[in-house]
Amino acid sequence: MNDFFARGPALGLRLVLAVACSIGLMFVDRYTDSATQLRSYLTSAVSPLFYAASLPESVITTASEQLMSQQQLLQENAALKARLLQLDAQLQLLNFLQLENNKLRALLGSAPVVEGQRLIAEVLAVYSHPFSHQVVLNKGSNDGVAVHYPLIDDKGVVGQIISVTPTSSRAILISDNTHAISLRAERTGIRTIAAGIGQWDQLRLIHLPLSTDIREGDRLLTSGLDGRFPEGYPVAEVVSVSRDDSQPFISVQARPYAKLDRIKHVLILSPGSQVEAVRQAEEQP
């Protein structure tokens, strides 16, 4: 029975140690700012695992692309060309409007809106826990990504970067229940905040007084006031409004435009001059 004496510290003691360490970690991660940096280091240490885990899917995708018939490819090519032509036509008008807008802004004496850089990133097919709506992207600080950069897809705002490693980055989605985003209703111009509630297809608008003019079907755009997201990108559509006089606020639910549960490619925006302007305005007394 040598075994009995060679076991090291008793089980109970080890459990107490492990629990104490865990609680310390939770505290550091949740209530201090140094955790973001710590998380970045830890994530870069395990990022080979992310690439290994997404390998099977990328192999399958490549294989299915290889096996596509030429007919299909030609069809897809034609469809894409048609779409590109349409978008180009719209872009011509947009360029003209942009110029005009800048001139008008100059007349009014306000700063012109300058677009920041854009970067296409692919979502590494990586699972994250249902509690935390996060995705891992295949672009990192080597590509110029930094923390707090906003993410959009072709429909609307997706989320923002929360930690960066040299070759990958982790983004939090607007539906995560620790995330909130400042919005403006397109129809009425009312400002509001949309908080995630941990469901892919729903956001909650918080702190709207009962008298607010908001209806189902209202489009909600980013307001740019949070200093993170540039102004004017579509985020969500109001799907239900319920007014209860006994409550101080109305309860409003909105559905994000972006298909958050099945995003594959996203556009990382680097904050343009406008976001910088908001920050500077905040810093000035």
């Binding site: 459990l15 360490c21 830890l42 290994a52 982790r170």
Partner: protein, 160 residues
């Protein structure tokens, strides 16, 4: 105490379990994913409690935290607690029939999910949805197969 043998293989199986934890599944199936890493930890704690117990469970739980993006330490705590219960009762659990073992494993998984939920609720205010408990059922169904597989693995490679 017999000298440790094949510890590397144990870590290899844990690494595979971690990969299975984050490997992509079709969107509809993600809620049903069994907690592979915890199941493998339970197996090794049951089979070789001298080699794998709370310390290993803590490290694997911590890695899970980093990989799936929960608050650091949440999984580490839940893994350690489950591993403690198994390590304290391994002689009893080994004598159970496969069905009883599977039911017991389901209880451990439920405890793990609830710990995870309680801590996350306290730290970040997540709301409970019954769908979060699917891994308990799938984990219970996966246990007999995993047990059989890992026992073959352990005997073939003479891990002790």
């Amino acid at each position: 105490m017999r000298p440790a043998q094949g510890l590397g293989y144990i870590y290899l199986s844990l690494l595979a379990a971690l990969l299975l934890t984050i490997i992509p599944l079709p969107y509809q199936m993600t809620l049903f994913r069994p907690d592979w890493a915890l199941l493998v930890i339970i197996y090794w704690t049951l089979a070789l409690p001298r080699r794998v117990s709370i310390g290993t469970a803590f490290v694997v739980g911590f890695l899970t935290d980093i990989l799936v993006g929960t608050v650091l330490g949440v999984n580490a705590l839940a893994f350690s607690v489950v591993s403690f219960i198994v390590a304290a009762n391994y002689l009893k659990i080994r004598n159970f029939s496969m069905l009883q073992q599977a039911l017991l494993v389901a209880m451990f998984l439920a405890l793990y999910q609830l710990l995870l939920f309680w801590l996350s609720h306290f730290l970040t205010g997540v709301n409970f949805r019954p769908g979060y408990l699917w891994p308990v059922l799938t984990g219970m169904l996966a246990w007999p197969w995993l047990f059989w597989l890992l026992r073959r693995y352990r005997r073939q490679l003479k891990i002790q």
